[in-house]
Point group: C2
């Protein structure tokens, strides 16, 4: 099959690779219908994360079940499936508590930017649609594999409720998805922190009521001004830098919670400041299987279009162009079709 | 009147001071029935917090209303009152949201270890009992002014629910109060981290089902062993050191929350570890007025006896002995009567 390999920073190639095969009786093999490039794929691409040796890359996908292992009971060949960016069994105590990333049978996987994918723990990881979806729904279904579920995780974790005022720090695909999630969870006011016109447009389309282009101290001041000095009821953080975390913590009202989904890079929190304002932080990798049933329904009923974050679509063979476009910020998020 | 002054580390004296007077129309003056020494009073006493000049000390109290300002409407002279360790108006957006420490008219006050106290924002700060309480209830009523409300804040903030498994880090008066709070909130299992026999006894009396004497790595291991490798559903942190915070964060299950009430001292959180386990922290100074109505009921109906944390009672004149006893860990908490 054809698959994408990251050879070194900046060096992405699509080449022939062995077809994946069932290794465990709980595996499934899917034929990829669509996959995409994640913001986190850019870290090794940019050399921020080390690339010790060439490796297959990608962790987002939708596809058709090709083959299932002997212990897979909930799926059959031919079904269209969406799955999370990690494997989880759905039955261990952590899965049952709704934190599937900590599954006792957790397996991470790379290499989803390819024509076929082996998915471990298929029964817990993959969710089938009732029928083959219309082709125009593919981008939105693909978004559920990571970014939309991750934005949803930020909004749920930060405690967004009907009527909430929410601020979202970060205008990448995840931040934009958090805006959409906040709207779906009933937020009355959604402040998107964004300085890029194309992203501001999608934020507004997703439900943002206010756009704040300032960052740092000025960004905090702007949120306070919009909220009569009180701060946002809930803040979603979708960047992960020290600056963005501090901005998030300072933008939330006393007693509020920052829902963090930006993977922290060298972050030291202002613990004392947080303490005296009763501000908390909580978050981490999204509980994708927890949210998929509800989000699948919303997409299939055309209630939400999280696929709007894809502003570039290319054949898988042009994966290198997709990486370059995202790296150079010419694209928010690139979809690839084998 | 007689009042306590901290002159320098280790130098506590009770001496004549001016009687407090109404300064603002929202003030009340109370005659102190009982007051006490807080763990946080020991920081300047030990020289950990600087003592720039002699100052009146103490922030916990119960008393009788002596006089009210012209704008106080909810209280009258002669009532027995309990109040929080800071003043809050009860009407601003932060008070209405239940985070009274961030009141827009917040006022801190020291000097409660004295015969009379001026309480700002009396309507929002003081709660009167329906009648004069029996004398044996005084310690438990006094505990509501800070430690019991603070322990309650830890338990509420960490998300203790009926059936929860809770771990409490810290066996001072606040940690013990968190054990009692967890029991009242319906926890099925309460693991108290304590290495002192006298504190273990009170923890057990307050509802602890398990005692763990180990700290650090060994303490975490012990909690994991007691919970089949899962971790506690909720953890209350009542110390505030880097070691205790890290222990708390590592003892909670994936997706769990640490309720922090130990004032952080030089704490740097293991942000990445927390992120990949979806573990959060939240907490701060307690929302005393939020909890007082319910806690007053429980004490007056003799449902809880948080005053058990007082294992030393002295006349106010012997405040210096009270400080020394707590400093030398001969007492958990010392009650003073003018």
């Amino acid at each position: 099959m054809r698959g994408t390999i990251l050879y070194a920073p900046g060096d992405i190639r699509v080449e022939d690779r062995p077809d994946p095969v069932i290794k465990e009786p709980t595996d499934a093999i899917i034929r990829t219908v669509a996959t995409c490039v994640c913001g986190s794929d850019l870290w090794p691409y940019r050399g921020i994360d080390e690339v010790a040796e060439p490796r297959a890359i990608g962790h987002e996908y939708v596809g058709i079940v090709e083959e299932i292992g002997s212990e897979v009971t909930g799926l059959r060949a031919g079904q269209f499936v969406v799955g999370g960016f990690y494997a989880s069994d759905g039955t261990c105590p952590h899965c049952r508590a709704g934190f599937q990333f900590s599954c006792m049978n957790h397996a991470g996987f790379d290499g989803c930017q390819s024509a076929y994918i082996r998915i471990p723990q298929a029964d817990g990881t993959l969710f089938a649609t009732p029928e083959q979806p219309d082709d125009d729904l593919i981008p939105s279904l693909l978004a559920l594999s990571d970014v939309m579920s991750t934005g949803w995780h930020a909004a749920v974790t930060s405690g967004v409720r009907p009527g909430s005022t929410v601020a979202v720090v970060g205008d990448g695909a995840v931040g934009l998805s958090a805006v959409l999630a906040a709207r779906e969870l009933g937020a009355a006011r959604i402040i998107a922190m964004s300085r890029h016109a194309s992203r501001q447009r999608i934020a507004t389309e997703f439900g943002a009521t206010d756009i704040v282009a300032e960052r740092g101290d000025d960004g905090v001041t702007a949120v306070l001004e919009l909220t009569e000095g009180i701060g946002a009821d809930a803040v979603c953080e979708a960047v992960g830098t020290a600056e963005s975390m501090t901005q998030a913590v300072r933008s939330v009202r006393p007693g509020g919670l920052v829902g963090v989904v930006g993977v922290p890079h060298d972050v030291e929190l202002p613990v004392s400041q947080m303490f005296f304002r009763n501000v908390g932080i909580k978050g981490g990798p999204a509980s994708v299987p927890q949210y998929l049933p509800e989000l699948l329904d919303k997409v299939l009923q055309r209630g939400i279009s999280p696929g709007r974050v894809f502003d570039l679509e290319l054949p898988l063979e042009q994966a290198a162009d997709a990486y370059a476009a995202m790296d150079e910020r010419r694209a928010i998020k690139a979809l690839l079709r084998p």
